[in-house]
Symmetry: D2
């Protein structure tokens, strides 16, 4: 079996994912806009490419894990895009957080080109990616899911199948990111109420995240909010805002009045508008946002 | 040791709590506005009283678990209130969800009367109370906490101490109820987005509540929202709204701008204003509210 | 001078506008998807055309007053679009409520075709259009504004120049529609508070709209809200929602955290999601929305 | 006729109101916490009193124009309150912005004391008070309204009668202040959208406030928001927040889900929580609030 894969996108998530693929024995033809990012990977197991097209040459699978819809579309259809070289029957495993509409469009484009497309967005922070603890949501053609299984298992702790409609997994991903944002707003308000009433943020956070809310999101994100410490920047507020925009667009398109989606969108937009989109983590948009409004 | 306790309030939570005390060997002098509620309890272990004052006679501990601030205050200070008969040094264990301000006032009233007061609100639905799985939050004088320990342990799975300021535990309780409401709004919006985009509410709920949000609130409340089934009415929307009002008042008093507290308050107020305060569970305020707005 | 104009779009606003142009001595080459709409106009003064292209033949000015961005773009660039026949130097006066982005794109398209484009959206309900009381906001090239002046004056009571950036007038129009929505929400909440506190909605509305808020929006829209009477349907909720989406998109694109824009968007989206987008006026989205939530 | 009146409260509004009463020939027995405030008034026409009780001695009318419910109640029922000296049949004209509940309580207290009470809150900024342009809303007993007429006319441009329920005028006043806050939020968001899209705030404000929104609130308040100049501090953010709290409490008590009331309350609470309650005008809470969130 051919264990060569094209891997495009060496960001905070992509890099640990690539490492896990290498650990599983795959050889990666990597492409990243900033080439130096590839230096972190074991050099014997990779071939650094100068264009997406070059990375996609001669492989059965192309993985993309990129920042937004426009970038993914450009990587596929651009002058040096993967469609230029992907062989018939090869599969594009699209792991970025993008809109279901873009996913559907990419499917159509691939079909026309004789290639395949699978939506496979993931849940997990960089440390979860490193620990092979990502959750992978997939949707699309059964065939595609089956053929991608080993590769996806090499990066995550579980694959969840959301059906044959290609955009389905993207909807789940945007919905989940909204739920995380809502949890961040919830904790930021709750712990600030506690603080301003003379309680210890940390004790209150510990209580809730070990009882009623004893789950990864409230525990892992909650510790930053409890401590009012938003370093390091693992997921930029700017990227969080992008997801909030996609979630909001989804509610508009599918006609779901969702005031909480609006609220978390406004919170992230504020962080970005204040010029902190690049310099702060999305958790800070909520934690700092509520604290500043409360004057503490 | 005197194992006689006054127990006031046989509602959905009070009744299973009383049963656990009886199971632990206590004899209860019970008072409830609707006397017939006492019929559920083992008759040999209780003495049914016709006033709070009568219930409080000759005991070291008076437990109240009632619907709101006004009722608790009346039970303490009314013409037939417990202060009329409580013996010097006896302790009032106040387990209702009330405002920290009322708690502080009750403490002052008790101090003047030579009796003691402990704030000990609980987290848990009726089934948790029945299973002795309540979490008990306490705040107040160390002495009072120590003396109440055995009694509280007979009703819950853990006691968490939030310090010496009497209102502290009440703040934690209101904060926690806000967090639950926020989780309900989050799930109601999220699962409706999923539904209107062609996904299965139940599958999406199962995924999130077994991974990122694998915790009691998202699991236990989430199953009602996923199924759009809000029966039976375990906690009336009207009572949920009362808590939302207390939470909102808390943000105003302690000056915490908290748009999500406002949002969940509006959701519950809508349910009440529509005449469904008594006939529906608070979960329905969120689940039905979002579904109706979305036309599904 | 050639007094022949192409006029495209005979909706609730377009029809009275066309009548005023006819009254001012213009001959109109009209196009409307539903041809029968042209029967309302004086037949001697119009030529009914079967395509936009046919309407645009041989004229110096093409007016469009249509429902949304997609329709305007199709009318311009479609297979039977006006670009097919517009003569060099002719001017497209674009009076629909569309996004500034679409306006800029249309300008670029026209420039390439050797034709011109002027953004000229209007404020006013159908009765204002009939009374020649529209306010016309313009932005774009000075030359274009000058040449359109007589035509615009024949339809409105004033032309306001918002500069050379083509999208400027579109921004003003979306901003103004947001302000109207905000006034509707304000009145709906205010008069319902009055009502539920035993006051007369009408008296309260009369007081405010003749003193602090003595202006067209609070007077003309307020009378519907005061009377809880939202007939006839002058501007469909669906179209109001379209404008709310454009306004929301504008805040996202230009990075203005605007919770009130979100709130009014949610109100209109709710009306649409409930299936009342076509059957109710946008005023009803606010008036009925608040009343229903309040149970009155 | 006895033209002596007790006048209590020489704040930003009270002082010009007192001046107008003096101009109309009344002699005022004035009381103010800070005595020096009385120096602004014509000394021959006033008697400076050291307690409310002293001011209320021997007069038929006592006017109060104070900051909040607690202060008004204290002025009436306190150890040196007006009830100590008011003669039977004398009328308390209560012009402060207070809750309808407090108004009803004061009525009951006065009735028991053999004195009368009239709710007569006013609309208008200090400059309107100086120009005798206040709008006076009254509610209560017909007799009381009739006897107060001349006095009220000496301070305002019109008296509007909101019926016999004493709290009615207070509801109207709170509702109106909410409407003003909503207009402030509307303008702040609208003009910031305009600004961030390259338009001139001032031009956009001028357009709207001379056409669709040509009314005092949009004109007088709008000029501050357009210019981003919130000086001088005519009405402190802290007092605006007090009104927003009363309005919010009103929606809770009368069960009107009102998300816009929540939104404006949050805006003012944020200003206060940030420590700007005393140093900034309530207009700034909206104008600065939106600008800061938008990073401009």
């Amino acid at each position: 079996m051919n264990k060569k894969i094209a891997f495009i996108g060496l960001g905070n998530l992509g890099t640990p994912m690539a490492k896990n693929l290498i650990a599983a024995g795959y050889h990666l033809q990597v492409y990243n806009r900033t080439t130096s990012k590839a230096e972190e990977l074991e050099q014997a197991s990779i071939t650094v490419c100068s264009t997406p097209a070059q990375a996609a040459e001669g492989v059965d699978f192309v993985i993309t894990i990129l920042s937004d819809d426009a970038v993914v579309t450009e990587i596929v259809t651009g002058a040096d895009g993967i469609l230029k070289t992907m062989q018939k029957g090869a599969l594009h495993i699209s792991m970025s957080t993008i809109s279901p509409q873009t996913s559907e469009q990419l499917l159509a484009i691939h079909k026309e080109a004789g290639t395949s497309y699978l939506a496979a967005p993931v849940f997990g922070r960089p440390e979860a990616a490193a620990a092979k603890k990502l959750w992978v949501c997939v949707s699309g053609e059964t065939e595609a899911k089956k053929s991608a299984e080993d590769i996806l298992n090499a990066m995550g702790q579980g694959i969840i199948d959301f059906g044959e409609t290609t955009g389905g997994a993207n909807v789940v991903k945007l919905t989940g990111n909204f739920m995380i944002m809502a949890a961040l707003e919830t904790m930021a308000e709750a712990y600030t109420i506690a603080e301003k009433n003379g309680l210890d943020r940390q004790q209150v956070a510990d209580f809730f995240s070990s009882t009623l809310f004893a789950c990864p999101i409230f525990q892992n994100y909650g510790k930053f909010i409890a401590a009012k410490n938003y370093e390091p920047v693992a997921f930029k507020a700017k990227l969080g805002y992008k997801d909030a925009r996609l979630a909001l667009a989804l509610t508009q398109k599918s006609e779901v009045p969702a005031p909480l989606v609006s609220l978390v969108n406004t919170r992230l937009l504020t962080q970005v508008a204040k010029g902190k989109g690049d310099s702060s983590d999305w958790i800070a948009a909520f934690g700092e946002g509520v604290s500043e409004d409360a004057g503490v």
